[in-house]
Protein backbone atom coordinates (compact mmCIF):
# COMPACT_ATOMS: atom_id res chain seq x y z
CA UNK A 1 0.00 0.00 0.00
CA UNK A 2 1.18 3.50 -0.73
CA UNK A 3 1.13 4.73 2.80
CA UNK A 4 2.36 8.17 1.84
CA UNK A 5 -0.84 8.67 -0.19
CA UNK A 6 -2.95 8.26 2.97
CA UNK A 7 -1.92 11.21 5.14
CA UNK A 8 -4.31 10.42 7.99
CA UNK A 9 -3.14 6.82 8.34
CA UNK A 10 0.49 7.84 7.85
CA UNK A 11 0.21 10.39 10.66
CA UNK A 12 -1.38 7.84 12.99
CA UNK A 13 1.25 5.19 12.31
CA UNK A 14 4.11 7.69 12.55
CA UNK A 15 2.83 8.89 15.94
CA UNK A 16 2.50 5.31 17.25
CA UNK A 17 5.93 4.49 15.84
CA UNK A 18 7.54 7.44 17.59
CA UNK A 19 5.69 6.71 20.82
CA UNK A 20 6.98 3.14 20.67
CA UNK A 21 3.62 1.40 20.84
CA UNK A 22 3.78 0.28 17.20
CA UNK A 23 5.43 -3.12 17.63
CA UNK A 24 6.31 -6.37 15.92
CA UNK A 25 5.58 -6.88 12.23
CA UNK A 26 3.71 -3.56 11.92
CA UNK A 27 6.78 -1.72 13.18
CA UNK A 28 9.10 -3.54 10.78
CA UNK A 29 6.79 -2.84 7.83
CA UNK A 30 6.63 0.83 8.78
CA UNK A 31 10.43 1.01 9.01
CA UNK A 32 10.78 -0.61 5.58
CA UNK A 33 8.39 1.95 4.09
CA UNK A 34 10.25 4.79 5.80
CA UNK A 35 13.51 3.63 4.22
CA UNK A 36 11.89 3.63 0.77
CA UNK A 37 9.74 6.74 0.96
CA UNK A 38 10.99 10.10 2.18
CA UNK A 39 7.50 11.37 3.17
CA UNK A 40 7.06 8.36 5.46
CA UNK A 41 10.50 8.97 6.94
CA UNK A 42 9.69 12.67 7.39
CA UNK A 43 6.45 11.86 9.22
CA UNK A 44 8.33 9.54 11.60
CA UNK A 45 11.04 12.14 12.26
CA UNK A 46 8.42 14.83 12.88
CA UNK A 47 6.71 12.72 15.52
CA UNK A 48 9.98 11.69 17.09
CA UNK A 49 10.97 15.32 17.49
CA UNK A 50 7.54 16.20 18.90
CA UNK A 51 7.45 13.38 21.45
CA UNK A 52 11.05 13.85 22.55
CA UNK A 53 9.66 16.87 24.42
CA UNK A 54 7.95 14.52 26.88
CA UNK A 55 11.47 14.26 28.30
CA UNK A 56 11.49 17.99 28.93
CA UNK A 57 8.26 18.10 30.91
CA UNK A 58 9.27 16.01 33.90
CA UNK A 59 9.47 17.40 37.41
CA UNK A 60 13.05 18.28 38.43
CA UNK A 61 14.73 16.60 41.41
CA UNK A 62 18.03 17.14 43.17
CA UNK A 63 20.73 14.52 42.53
CA UNK A 64 23.24 13.73 45.30
CA UNK A 65 26.33 15.98 45.20
CA UNK A 66 28.52 12.88 44.77
CA UNK A 67 27.26 12.50 41.19
CA UNK A 68 29.15 15.58 40.04
CA UNK A 69 32.27 14.46 41.93
CA UNK A 70 32.18 11.15 40.07
CA UNK A 71 31.70 12.83 36.70
CA UNK A 72 34.52 15.27 37.45
CA UNK A 73 36.88 12.44 38.45
CA UNK A 74 36.13 10.44 35.32
CA UNK A 75 36.50 13.47 33.05
CA UNK A 76 39.87 14.31 34.62
CA UNK A 77 41.03 10.72 34.25
CA UNK A 78 40.02 10.79 30.61
CA UNK A 79 41.87 14.07 30.10
CA UNK A 80 45.01 12.67 31.77
CA UNK A 81 44.83 9.60 29.58
CA UNK A 82 44.44 11.72 26.43
CA UNK A 83 47.40 13.85 27.47
CA UNK A 84 49.47 10.76 28.09
CA UNK A 85 48.51 9.25 24.74
CA UNK A 86 49.52 12.48 23.03
CA UNK A 87 52.83 12.47 24.88
CA UNK A 88 53.41 8.88 23.81
CA UNK A 89 52.83 9.70 20.19
CA UNK A 90 55.32 12.57 20.40
CA UNK A 91 57.88 10.42 22.14
CA UNK A 92 60.50 8.86 19.85
CA UNK A 93 60.86 5.88 22.18
CA UNK A 94 60.15 2.51 20.61
CA UNK A 95 56.79 1.14 21.69
CA UNK A 96 57.46 -1.52 24.27
CA UNK A 97 55.34 -4.61 24.66
CA UNK A 98 54.94 -6.31 28.02
CA UNK A 99 57.57 -8.87 27.09
CA UNK A 100 60.14 -6.11 27.42
CA UNK A 101 60.09 -6.76 31.13
CA UNK A 102 61.46 -10.28 30.62
CA UNK A 103 65.18 -9.46 30.34
CA UNK A 104 64.72 -7.01 33.15
CA UNK A 105 63.15 -9.63 35.32
CA UNK A 106 65.93 -12.11 34.51
CA UNK A 107 68.45 -9.46 35.48
CA UNK A 108 66.64 -8.72 38.70
CA UNK A 109 66.38 -12.41 39.52
CA UNK A 110 70.06 -13.07 38.81
CA UNK A 111 71.05 -10.11 40.95
CA UNK A 112 68.83 -11.40 43.74
CA UNK A 113 70.34 -14.89 43.59
CA UNK A 114 73.84 -13.47 43.60
CA UNK A 115 73.20 -11.27 46.62
CA UNK A 116 71.78 -14.27 48.49
CA UNK A 117 74.95 -16.25 47.78
CA UNK A 118 77.11 -13.33 48.87
CA UNK A 119 75.07 -13.00 52.06
CA UNK A 120 75.49 -16.67 52.94
CA UNK A 121 79.21 -16.69 52.14
CA UNK A 122 79.79 -13.56 54.18
CA UNK A 123 77.82 -14.88 57.09
CA UNK A 124 79.62 -18.20 57.04
CA UNK A 125 82.95 -16.45 56.75
CA UNK A 126 82.25 -14.29 59.75
CA UNK A 127 81.12 -17.03 62.05
CA UNK A 128 82.85 -20.20 62.96
CA UNK A 129 79.89 -22.02 64.35
CA UNK A 130 78.54 -23.46 61.13
CA UNK A 131 75.96 -25.63 62.87
CA UNK A 132 74.13 -22.79 64.54
CA UNK A 133 74.34 -20.82 61.31
CA UNK A 134 72.58 -23.60 59.41
CA UNK A 135 69.88 -23.73 62.05
CA UNK A 136 69.44 -19.98 61.74
CA UNK A 137 69.21 -20.22 57.97
CA UNK A 138 66.58 -22.95 58.25
CA UNK A 139 64.54 -20.82 60.63
CA UNK A 140 64.94 -17.91 58.27
CA UNK A 141 63.78 -20.03 55.37
CA UNK A 142 60.59 -20.97 57.19
CA UNK A 143 59.66 -17.34 57.65
CA UNK A 144 60.93 -16.18 54.26
CA UNK A 145 58.14 -15.46 51.83
CA UNK A 146 57.62 -18.25 49.36
CA UNK A 147 57.54 -16.29 46.16
CA UNK A 148 55.66 -18.15 43.43
CA UNK A 149 54.92 -15.36 40.94
CA UNK A 150 56.99 -12.32 40.01
CA UNK A 151 56.33 -9.34 37.78
CA UNK A 152 58.31 -6.21 37.02
CA UNK A 153 55.92 -3.54 35.81
CA UNK A 154 57.48 -1.02 33.45
CA UNK A 155 56.47 2.44 32.47
CA UNK A 156 56.15 3.54 28.86
CA UNK A 157 59.91 4.13 28.63
CA UNK A 158 60.48 0.51 29.69
CA UNK A 159 61.93 1.58 32.99
CA UNK A 160 61.03 -0.61 35.92
CA UNK A 161 58.47 1.10 38.15
CA UNK A 162 57.03 -1.62 40.35
CA UNK A 163 58.16 -5.03 41.54
CA UNK A 164 55.28 -7.39 42.32
CA UNK A 165 55.62 -10.77 44.00
CA UNK A 166 52.95 -13.23 45.04
CA UNK A 167 53.31 -15.49 48.03
CA UNK A 168 50.67 -18.28 48.01
CA UNK A 169 51.56 -19.32 51.56
CA UNK A 170 50.78 -15.89 52.99
CA UNK A 171 48.07 -15.30 50.40
CA UNK A 172 49.38 -11.91 49.50
CA UNK A 173 50.87 -9.75 46.82
CA UNK A 174 53.82 -7.59 47.78
CA UNK A 175 54.46 -4.46 45.77
CA UNK A 176 57.59 -2.39 45.86
CA UNK A 177 57.82 0.93 44.12
CA UNK A 178 61.17 1.03 42.35
CA UNK A 179 60.88 4.34 40.50
CA UNK A 180 60.31 7.79 41.90
CA UNK A 181 56.70 7.88 40.70
CA UNK A 182 54.25 9.34 43.21
CA UNK A 183 50.59 9.83 42.38
CA UNK A 184 48.86 13.13 43.19
CA UNK A 185 47.02 13.40 46.52
CA UNK A 186 43.62 13.06 44.81
CA UNK A 187 44.63 9.94 42.85
CA UNK A 188 45.19 6.28 43.59
CA UNK A 189 47.10 3.58 41.75
CA UNK A 190 45.10 0.42 41.13
CA UNK A 191 46.50 -3.01 40.29
CA UNK A 192 44.75 -5.09 37.62
CA UNK A 193 45.06 -8.68 36.46
CA UNK A 194 44.81 -8.91 32.66
CA UNK A 195 43.35 -12.39 32.02
CA UNK A 196 43.60 -13.64 28.41
CA UNK A 197 40.44 -12.80 26.51
CA UNK A 198 38.75 -11.33 29.59
CA UNK A 199 38.16 -7.92 31.09
CA UNK A 200 40.79 -6.56 33.51
CA UNK A 201 40.09 -7.61 37.09
CA UNK A 202 41.02 -5.39 40.02
CA UNK A 203 43.51 -6.87 42.49
CA UNK A 204 43.36 -3.87 44.77
CA UNK A 205 44.13 -0.21 45.29
CA UNK A 206 47.65 0.77 46.31
CA UNK A 207 48.44 2.93 49.31
CA UNK A 208 51.11 5.54 48.65
CA UNK A 209 53.79 3.67 50.63
CA UNK A 210 57.04 2.48 49.09
CA UNK A 211 56.38 -1.14 50.07
CA UNK A 212 52.88 -2.47 50.43
CA UNK A 213 50.86 -5.65 50.45
CA UNK A 214 47.50 -6.70 49.05
CA UNK A 215 45.57 -9.81 50.00
CA UNK A 216 45.15 -12.18 47.04
CA UNK A 217 44.44 -15.84 46.45
CA UNK A 218 46.30 -18.08 44.03
CA UNK A 219 43.19 -18.10 41.83
CA UNK A 220 43.57 -14.34 41.36
CA UNK A 221 46.95 -14.71 39.68
CA UNK A 222 47.24 -18.23 38.23
CA UNK A 223 46.86 -18.23 34.45
CA UNK A 224 47.08 -14.45 34.32
CA UNK A 225 49.80 -13.53 31.81
CA UNK A 226 50.17 -9.87 32.74
CA UNK A 227 49.48 -7.22 35.37
CA UNK A 228 48.89 -3.51 34.93
CA UNK A 229 48.59 -0.45 37.12
CA UNK A 230 46.27 2.41 36.24
CA UNK A 231 45.85 5.89 37.65
CA UNK A 232 42.38 6.27 39.15
CA UNK A 233 40.40 8.72 41.26
CA UNK A 234 41.28 8.55 44.96
CA UNK A 235 40.13 5.20 46.35
CA UNK A 236 40.04 3.48 42.96
CA UNK A 237 37.12 2.30 40.86
CA UNK A 238 34.88 -0.80 41.09
CA UNK A 239 36.45 -3.88 39.44
CA UNK A 240 33.55 -4.41 37.04
CA UNK A 241 33.98 -0.95 35.59
CA UNK A 242 37.57 -1.71 34.56
CA UNK A 243 40.36 0.86 34.57
CA UNK A 244 39.04 4.36 33.85
CA UNK A 245 42.36 6.17 34.02
CA UNK A 246 45.56 5.78 32.00
CA UNK A 247 47.56 2.56 32.34
CA UNK A 248 50.90 3.69 33.72
CA UNK A 249 52.76 0.46 34.32
CA UNK A 250 52.46 -2.98 32.84
CA UNK A 251 54.40 -6.22 32.78
CA UNK A 252 54.36 -10.00 32.41
CA UNK A 253 53.47 -12.11 35.42
CA UNK A 254 55.96 -14.99 35.61
CA UNK A 255 55.51 -18.19 37.56
CA UNK A 256 58.76 -19.13 39.29
CA UNK A 257 59.95 -22.68 38.77
CA UNK A 258 62.95 -22.40 41.10
Amino acid sequence: MDLHRHPELLDRLAAAYALGTLRGGARRRFEALAREHAPVRAAALLWQSRLVSVNELQTPAQPAPAVWTRIDNLVRAERDRTAMDAARQDSPAVKGGWWRSLPLWRGASAAGALSAVVAVVTAVGLRDDLGSQIGQLQAQLATTPQVRYVAVLNDEQSSAAMLVTFDPKQQRLTLQRVSGFQEAADKSLQLWALPPGGAPRSLGVLSNEQLLQLAAGERDVSGVPALAISLEPLGGVPSERGPTGPVLFKGALIQKML
Binding site: A15, L19, E56, L57
Partner: protein, 190 residues
Protein backbone atom coordinates in the same frame (compact mmCIF):
# COMPACT_ATOMS: atom_id res chain seq x y z
CA UNK B 1 18.70 25.49 39.03
CA UNK B 2 17.92 28.54 37.02
CA UNK B 3 16.00 29.20 33.87
CA UNK B 4 18.46 30.21 31.24
CA UNK B 5 17.78 30.74 27.55
CA UNK B 6 18.53 28.04 24.98
CA UNK B 7 21.31 30.04 23.42
CA UNK B 8 23.23 30.05 26.72
CA UNK B 9 22.91 26.26 26.90
CA UNK B 10 23.99 25.96 23.26
CA UNK B 11 27.07 28.04 23.93
CA UNK B 12 27.91 25.89 26.97
CA UNK B 13 27.61 22.75 24.82
CA UNK B 14 29.84 24.38 22.18
CA UNK B 15 32.46 25.06 24.83
CA UNK B 16 32.22 21.49 26.15
CA UNK B 17 32.92 20.36 22.57
CA UNK B 18 36.30 22.13 22.78
CA UNK B 19 37.12 20.38 26.09
CA UNK B 20 36.16 23.24 28.43
CA UNK B 21 35.67 21.53 31.80
CA UNK B 22 34.23 24.68 33.35
CA UNK B 23 31.51 24.67 30.71
CA UNK B 24 30.63 21.06 31.58
CA UNK B 25 30.21 22.11 35.20
CA UNK B 26 28.09 25.08 34.08
CA UNK B 27 25.90 22.82 31.98
CA UNK B 28 25.57 20.42 34.90
CA UNK B 29 24.62 23.19 37.31
CA UNK B 30 21.89 24.46 35.01
CA UNK B 31 20.42 21.18 33.80
CA UNK B 32 21.18 18.38 36.28
CA UNK B 33 18.02 18.92 38.34
CA UNK B 34 15.79 18.75 35.32
CA UNK B 35 17.64 15.80 33.78
CA UNK B 36 17.80 13.91 37.06
CA UNK B 37 14.03 14.36 37.42
CA UNK B 38 13.62 12.72 34.02
CA UNK B 39 16.01 9.87 34.88
CA UNK B 40 14.13 9.32 38.11
CA UNK B 41 10.81 9.13 36.29
CA UNK B 42 12.17 6.60 33.78
CA UNK B 43 13.96 4.36 36.28
CA UNK B 44 11.92 4.96 39.44
CA UNK B 45 15.11 4.39 41.42
CA UNK B 46 17.44 7.07 42.81
CA UNK B 47 20.68 5.14 42.42
CA UNK B 48 19.96 4.10 38.85
CA UNK B 49 18.86 7.62 38.00
CA UNK B 50 22.15 8.97 39.37
CA UNK B 51 24.13 6.43 37.34
CA UNK B 52 22.16 7.44 34.25
CA UNK B 53 22.89 11.10 34.96
CA UNK B 54 26.60 10.36 35.38
CA UNK B 55 26.74 8.43 32.11
CA UNK B 56 24.83 11.21 30.38
CA UNK B 57 27.40 13.84 31.28
CA UNK B 58 30.29 11.58 30.30
CA UNK B 59 28.57 11.05 26.96
CA UNK B 60 28.02 14.80 26.61
CA UNK B 61 31.72 15.32 27.36
CA UNK B 62 32.62 12.95 24.53
CA UNK B 63 29.99 13.83 21.95
CA UNK B 64 29.20 17.53 22.47
CA UNK B 65 30.75 18.19 19.06
CA UNK B 66 27.86 16.24 17.47
CA UNK B 67 25.22 18.41 19.11
CA UNK B 68 24.87 21.04 16.39
CA UNK B 69 24.25 18.44 13.69
CA UNK B 70 21.22 17.20 15.63
CA UNK B 71 19.38 20.51 14.95
CA UNK B 72 17.64 20.00 18.31
CA UNK B 73 16.88 22.39 21.14
CA UNK B 74 19.57 21.76 23.79
CA UNK B 75 17.23 20.28 26.39
CA UNK B 76 15.69 17.96 23.77
CA UNK B 77 19.16 16.65 22.88
CA UNK B 78 20.14 16.25 26.53
CA UNK B 79 16.77 14.70 27.39
CA UNK B 80 17.18 12.09 24.67
CA UNK B 81 20.58 11.07 26.05
CA UNK B 82 19.23 10.86 29.61
CA UNK B 83 16.28 8.72 28.54
CA UNK B 84 18.56 6.33 26.61
CA UNK B 85 20.98 5.98 29.52
CA UNK B 86 18.10 5.58 31.98
CA UNK B 87 16.56 2.85 29.80
CA UNK B 88 20.00 1.16 29.76
CA UNK B 89 19.91 1.18 33.56
CA UNK B 90 16.45 -0.38 33.55
CA UNK B 91 17.60 -3.17 31.22
CA UNK B 92 20.75 -3.71 33.25
CA UNK B 93 18.72 -4.17 36.41
CA UNK B 94 16.01 -6.20 34.73
CA UNK B 95 16.23 -8.97 37.30
CA UNK B 96 15.38 -6.52 40.06
CA UNK B 97 12.77 -4.80 37.95
CA UNK B 98 10.00 -7.22 38.73
CA UNK B 99 10.16 -6.34 42.36
CA UNK B 100 10.66 -2.66 41.67
CA UNK B 101 7.59 -2.23 39.48
CA UNK B 102 5.41 -3.07 42.46
CA UNK B 103 6.38 0.22 44.05
CA UNK B 104 5.98 2.08 40.78
CA UNK B 105 2.58 0.54 40.25
CA UNK B 106 1.33 1.86 43.56
CA UNK B 107 2.48 5.37 42.79
CA UNK B 108 1.03 5.18 39.31
CA UNK B 109 -2.25 3.71 40.45
CA UNK B 110 -2.67 6.68 42.78
CA UNK B 111 -1.92 9.08 39.97
CA UNK B 112 -4.35 7.37 37.64
CA UNK B 113 -7.19 7.21 40.15
CA UNK B 114 -6.83 10.65 41.65
CA UNK B 115 -8.19 13.81 40.11
CA UNK B 116 -4.93 15.63 40.35
CA UNK B 117 -2.88 15.42 37.22
CA UNK B 118 0.79 14.54 37.45
CA UNK B 119 2.22 18.05 37.26
CA UNK B 120 4.17 18.83 34.13
CA UNK B 121 7.13 21.05 34.55
CA UNK B 122 8.03 23.59 31.91
CA UNK B 123 11.23 24.99 33.38
CA UNK B 124 13.93 25.01 30.69
CA UNK B 125 11.38 23.66 28.20
CA UNK B 126 12.06 24.46 24.56
CA UNK B 127 9.46 26.09 22.35
CA UNK B 128 8.59 22.73 20.86
CA UNK B 129 8.11 21.35 24.36
CA UNK B 130 5.68 24.17 25.08
CA UNK B 131 3.57 23.08 22.11
CA UNK B 132 3.49 19.49 23.34
CA UNK B 133 2.73 20.72 26.84
CA UNK B 134 -0.24 22.69 25.56
CA UNK B 135 -1.62 19.66 23.78
CA UNK B 136 -0.93 17.23 26.63
CA UNK B 137 -2.78 19.44 29.11
CA UNK B 138 -5.91 18.96 26.99
CA UNK B 139 -5.84 15.21 27.51
CA UNK B 140 -7.52 13.49 30.42
CA UNK B 141 -4.80 12.94 32.93
CA UNK B 142 -4.94 9.14 32.75
CA UNK B 143 -4.49 9.34 28.98
CA UNK B 144 -1.65 11.76 29.43
CA UNK B 145 -0.07 9.45 31.97
CA UNK B 146 -0.16 6.31 29.84
CA UNK B 147 1.06 8.18 26.75
CA UNK B 148 3.94 9.71 28.75
CA UNK B 149 4.86 6.40 30.35
CA UNK B 150 4.71 4.48 27.09
CA UNK B 151 7.23 6.94 25.72
CA UNK B 152 9.46 7.45 28.76
CA UNK B 153 9.82 3.77 29.63
CA UNK B 154 9.56 2.45 26.07
CA UNK B 155 6.66 0.16 27.00
CA UNK B 156 4.32 -1.79 24.73
CA UNK B 157 0.56 -1.89 25.29
CA UNK B 158 0.98 -5.26 27.00
CA UNK B 159 3.77 -4.09 29.31
CA UNK B 160 1.79 -0.98 30.23
CA UNK B 161 -1.27 -3.06 31.03
CA UNK B 162 0.83 -5.35 33.19
CA UNK B 163 2.61 -2.55 35.05
CA UNK B 164 -0.55 -0.52 35.61
CA UNK B 165 -2.67 -3.61 36.34
CA UNK B 166 -5.22 -2.49 33.80
CA UNK B 167 -7.01 -4.53 31.13
CA UNK B 168 -5.11 -4.53 27.83
CA UNK B 169 -8.16 -3.15 26.00
CA UNK B 170 -8.33 -0.18 28.37
CA UNK B 171 -4.68 0.69 27.85
CA UNK B 172 -5.03 0.36 24.09
CA UNK B 173 -8.05 2.64 23.93
CA UNK B 174 -6.50 5.27 26.26
CA UNK B 175 -3.38 5.34 24.12
CA UNK B 176 -5.33 5.46 20.87
CA UNK B 177 -7.62 8.26 22.01
CA UNK B 178 -4.74 10.11 23.62
CA UNK B 179 -2.67 9.93 20.46
CA UNK B 180 -5.62 10.94 18.25
CA UNK B 181 -6.23 14.05 20.33
CA UNK B 182 -2.54 14.81 20.43
CA UNK B 183 -2.33 14.53 16.64
CA UNK B 184 -5.27 16.85 16.13
CA UNK B 185 -3.81 19.38 18.56
CA UNK B 186 -0.21 19.22 17.35
CA UNK B 187 -1.39 19.82 13.77
CA UNK B 188 -2.02 23.45 14.82
CA UNK B 189 1.62 23.87 15.69
CA UNK B 190 2.82 22.23 12.46
Amino acid sequence: MSNIPDRSLVSLIDRVAIRDEGALKGLYDHTSGKLYGLALRVTGHREWAEDALQETFLQVWKTAADYRASLSPPMAWLGLIVRSRALDQLRRHKAEREHLTDELDDVLADTLEGDSANPMDTSLASQQAWALHQCLTRLEHKQREVVSLAYLRDLSHGELAQQLKLPLGTVKSWIRRGLDQLRACMAHFA
